[in-house]
Symmetry: D2
Subunit: 463 residues, 4 copies
């Protein structure tokens, strides 16, 4: 199949020009003025931006947590992603304690295959490095899994002590991979949580009040120090606070190879959401939690200055009605996570570009290009260039929608609430292509279950 996208304003992380894009099969074959090539389909993109498809490198689909599963699986989750203009995700496969990472990878392949509607890769959450396990990294690299997530949070579940961190980081660094870290000092946080619960502080807001920003910053500083010593590049996921960002900035300016990601929830929502009536706050129970509002502009400054490189969603939805409610008695039982995979591009375009904080180029960089480069997907993904996959978003910069669980143009996620309910956004993905196939047209999904392919990713050091 061949497509000609006519007269779109093409935006990459650097360029900005109006031209035609000729797609032959799955890839962009040519970009030019007034291309006259016979094709199967012509799309008129006049008055529209053409962006590289969004890349969301932080999702948790079909993930077990506290006895339940995140409510979007690879079908519903990737379909919602496509609706929002995201054409690639990198989800987190999990190693079970006492089991091989390769088993974990198999499990996640099984979850995704035949279901995903857009392309996907996997990071591996490493939890157990006993014996020879660490050498599995070689195998994972061959399998195209080149980034590894380590936790300083969740003791007894995903937590790694400093010795395991160091050993794993050394191995990853040696092999050319990238280490991702969820940075919160879970050990101290558990102490605070225990005390809070013992004092009867069980409402959702105590989830936030027991996870101070200082303990996020501490884990950033510690893992940056250890990664530097171990010779591994480090990527801090879901930076939520100024305190944490400050440590990233200091590490970077001292020459360490440290990167940072934040998420729309930390840029748009804040602690006051926990102060709502009744159990409403449970909708926002995630880790790290939402912070005091003043942190938002600091995080934007990090995106502007370049100390933060990526905006992901940490999409991890649980239904309010029958899942979040598990923590009705005590916040520690509330499944951690919130939905967002569908709304990232519009939220970032609206707050970033429309409100004047960042340029169009920077918008593309933080929602797509930077992730592609850091995670070994570039230039296949993350740009609009000849020979790249034709993952494209034709974006209407003037259409305004109000995000709502009831608005089919903004909510196709399998969850009974939207974290941004009532937010008005200008800028909507109108038509979305995945490897040359139209999968969303005028906000209607027209893709195919299972058409998404697994992406073997290159090493960080090859980028």
């Amino acid at each position: 199949m061949s497509i000609l996208i006519k007269n779109g304003r093409i935006i990459t992380a650097v360029d900005d020009f109006t031209a035609d894009i000729y797609i032959d099969g799955e890839k962009i074959s040519a970009i030019g003025k007034d291309l006259e090539i016979p094709v199967d389909k012509v799309i008129d993109a006049s008055g529209r931006y053409v962006f590289p498809g969004g890349i969301d490198p932080h999702t948790h689909l079909d993930m077990p947590f506290g006895g339940t599963m995140s409510s979007d699986d690879f079908e519903t989750g990737t379909r919602a992603a496509a609706h929002g203009g995201t054409t690639t995700i990198i989800d987190f496969a999990i190693q079970s304690m006492g089991h091989s990472t390769l088993e974990g990878l198999d499990t996640w392949h099984a979850k995704a295959e035949g279901k995903a509607c857009i392309d996907y890769g996997f990071h591996m959450i490493v939890t157990d490095t006993a014996g020879d396990r660490i050498t599995e990294i070689n195998r994972l690299i061959q399998e195209g899994v080149t980034s590894y997530k380590l936790f300083t949070a969740y003791p007894g579940v995903l937590y790694m002590d400093d010795a395991m961190l160091f050993r794993t980081m050394q191995e990853v660094g040696r092999k050319g991979g990238l280490v991702c870290v969820h940075a919160e000092n879970g050990i101290v946080i558990d102490e605070i949580v225990r005390k809070a619960v013992s004092e009867g502080k069980t409402a959702p807001k105590w989830h936030a009040l027991t996870r101070p920003t200082r303990m996020e910053a501490e884990a950033v500083h510690r893992t940056a120090s250890i990664a530097d010593l171990a010779g591994a590049p480090l990527y801090i996921v879901h930076v939520s606070s100024y305190d944490a960002l400050e440590q990233i900035t200091l590490a970077r300016s001292s020459g360490m190879t440290v990167f940072g990601e934040t998420c729309p929830q930390y840029l748009h929502l804040d602690h006051s959401y926990y102060e709502q009536e009744g159990f409403e706050g449970a909708k926002y129970v995630m880790s790290p939690p939402l912070r005091e509002k003043w942190n938002q502009e600091e995080l934007w400054d990090g995106l502007i200055s370049g100390d933060l490189q990526v905006v992901s969603t940490d999409h991890c939805p649980f239904r309010f009605k029958d899942q979040k409610i598990l923590g009705k008695e005590v916040f520690t039982k509330i499944p951690n996570g919130a939905p967002g995979i569908e709304n990232r591009m519009s939220l970032m375009f609206n707050s970033g570009v429309v409100e004047g904080r960042i340029s169009l180029n920077r918008f593309v960089e933080i929602t797509s290009t930077a992730a592609a480069k850091l995670f070994g997907l570039f230039p296949r993904k993350g740009t609009v260039a000849v020979d790249s996959d034709a993952d494209l978003v034709i974006f209407d910069p003037e259409r305004t929608e109000t995000i709502s669980v009831n608005n089919p143009c903004t909510h196709n996620m399998n969850v009974d609430y939207n974290a941004y309910e009532g937010f008005k956004v200008t800028g909507i993905a109108e038509t979305v292509l995945s490897r040359g196939k139209i999968i969303v047209e005028n906000c209607n999904f027209c893709g195919t279950r299972g058409s998404g392919k697994f992406l073997k990713r290159s090493l960080f050091t090859e980028a």
Copy 2:
């Protein structure tokens, strides 16, 4: 005329892919795989990089200084630039004290017209803001002169006091232009110079020893503070030292709109050049002077972190034999400046890319794209994209040359020495196109005197 560049590895500030470029007239018309379009000329770029033509936003051609003129005029200077892979310069027109800036602009138009071999723009050096002069900025903007250079150095010649700085910055900020500053505290430096000379310290090295880095840093901090208050974006030219860079970094991290440029001489040469036998040091008499060697890696770090955005040359050549010699008796009479316009791209490619400090993309960004964006030339210049000017460099990444005044492949500047004499560089501009015309082919100039056009530049705020 139409050209097809086949199979080059095209590098922009973001992209990196192999394709064909179709040039129809002066512009890039299409980029694609295996383009089959009948053209006047086909260039085989296999095994070569295709870069956007270099942009050197800091040159002084045919410039009066201390009773003599810089030895390259717009013909010889731009021809040498083309040899080195630079296809655009922005030169500095000078307002004479007591005269209109528009007169200055006319003078510089007269110098360039009919001579320049590549495209060029002008900044305006503002020296006199008496009466209504400041309102001339409106006229300059209409003329496409949208950046203005102010000096804190050279009291009595180009120096502006803080009141003039503030007034001019306010006007430029209001109009959407960009302020460039030569940052050295010339008032204090003149005190130190006077004392040194009175003590018989007259050799070239005293030029450097009387211009401490602290006085460069002071002027950066001061002008950044004043520009911030005045609401003007600020671009510090030729940052030479860690002390100055530190002030840029601090200003940027406090949210000020401050940019920084450095030059190959500050990255490759150092204070020891002044310690040579006899009058040799005069070759390196420039302002700011070369610094202690340890500053070099700090400046590289600034380029890597992004606190410095641009590498220009401050090309301002004077012949050793009959011009530099004017300062034989006392260093204050040595014309300030050194040649470099021709060697920038090879030096930066060699030290940056070959030696592993920066990526290919970042090389393109600091030698071309960033200047285009800051100075209102983008997307016409500074990228390889459809509808951009076909200013292209086909670059041989493996060819090695030794820079020498005697090597016609590295020295076509009209000056009797090369500041980088003996430096071995890998990476040479092989073929150079200016607006679709081949002007250098296999290191031979084949362009036309006067074919370069004046570039009306957009405002900073329109970028």
Copy 3:
């Protein structure tokens, strides 16, 4: 005359103990437990603190400003100081343009002699360094004037350009003296003022709005850089803002010899005072002006961390009724300055010690000891030690007074308003001794006009 002060709790910048003090003549002769020495007078200091007399190193008595004179002369001003527990002042003698500094010194000696009720020294405000004037510093040192104030504010009046600053600093540094600087960029401020006035912004608040903190910080950075180069220690007077303090902190941490002084007005009053009805704001017209309230805790932090060393008053009173009113039409005509010499010790004790910000020792250090050490008065002044002058304050830590122009216990200054009207303070100087003579007893002045002596001060480098 001999005095025995019994059972006071003696506080120095380090010590804290209860003992008797034996004063024989003008000096402390012994300190001991249960001293039994026959004396002329015994003072029971049980339940009281005994502090070294306060030192206020920044006063402007009998000073000409804009056609009028500050309303306290050396009699009324020093009497008020004594009431408040201050036993030493260092006032600013002024060199008139075109005249010798020694003439200025003579003028100030004439103002003080026979009038001062407490001991006093002089700094010299240097305004003119033409010809050989700079060598007068030698003579000034012999006269005991070892600190020199330079202005970056008030162009055309007291302002020095960077060349004069550098030359003067070099000379002072060479001789071992201390440079004091009023740090505001008067050149830029005058531009802002001119514009404001031309726009009809003439009310008192515009005095503050035309003197941005950034221009205070700029002058700190600039003079610190120049002083460092010149080899002179630097003391920034009346630091009013976080921006300025930050530059002091940075300078100090980079190893420069820079000190900072703040004043009670910057710790207790804020910009809102200018927003009062009518012309009230004129009472607070001083330079630098009062700042946004949040700066106050930052300045306290500077005092706590040690980046600020001294609290002076910059006492410079003008009567509201017939002096401040000179600027009724336009704020630029309002005499700059406010009263405070009498209230410093109580304000700092109350806000510092009673409110728990600083220790008793630190209170003594910032109100007395540090100034004595920096300005060459130690150990004669600034401590409670054997052989030191018996300048002592017997302080009632529990007595509370409301500061008011109508309260004779808090207002003996010759000015018709009190800047701290209505402030309630706990901690009052009860009995004050100057060189062994009781000059205040139970809040009543009992000293003698003219008994204060001129203090020849040592060099900074001898401290």
Copy 4:
């Protein structure tokens, strides 16, 4: 017994004057000019300084380590201390795993009682907080043990994880005590050590090469963050490197209550000592290890700026011949520690005062006063003031000695080498008094075994 010290130049952390000191029994009774009081003994201190006796708050006497005991017990160690001008030590009692801290305290009382020649206090090293143990802090406070040392080093021996750190810090903070931390990330260090040993890197220098400064800095940042959250003041012992100091500086400037101590070895010795022939390096095996030489001036800068407050010795001697040799095969078996208790005052006087880095007052502050204030001994110890203990050092500022194991004036420690062998120092403690008794006279010990008393210390919050 009564003593009159005549005409000494008395130096405190603030004062500097010449007077007589009258000692009646154990305390200073009076200080005055020309005191004429009949006494048992008159000491002529003309031409001498009189300092408050040195306080060394970090010693390990009679301490078990790796199967052996530090070679100085409370008799030999305190006698050596007295020789050097130190009249108070605070030693570290150790809680054994599984046992009460009170048992540990008993053990240390037994070690000291009847043996110590100068006064002493104890910190408690807390290793086990299981069950109710944490509440023992109440008892310890009643016993006068108000500071508690926690280790992030030595996993399996003294190491505390972050949960224990947090719990203990909370309890100490609540009670008003002070937390001391040995800051090195022992977990990561053990990983590095294990690898080094497995590669046959067993010589003494590998002790240093396996303990990077970054892991010291990491532990400082982490414990400062946790202490801040826990509400406890923090004192970092034996800061050895710039990296660690930088974290203290950052913590302090962000308003945390963090203090720092360094030791003469980190100011005078460096990594090159490990590079000596044969097993010599073992003499310098201590934790943290000696660092690259450039760290020394950074640590001095910390003492000058006030970011470091105290100089202790971490005296922990092991004989080279039969104790250090235990690690002949592998550095991990070398007992950690070095001697120094005797040489601290002379080393700091020589390098600090004689070499011009610090003032006499600051010398007293860092060797005595600051420790007294932080550890609840002030004003009993740490100053020369009425009612303070007559712990005094009459110090000859001009006498020069060469430190050597063979020089009885510099080495009375029970160990067969001196870490500063060959260092020439100017400034020697001539006469030393402990609570009014002369215990060293002209470098000869004349005190009494067992005359030192245990010091119950006040709480940090009472200081």
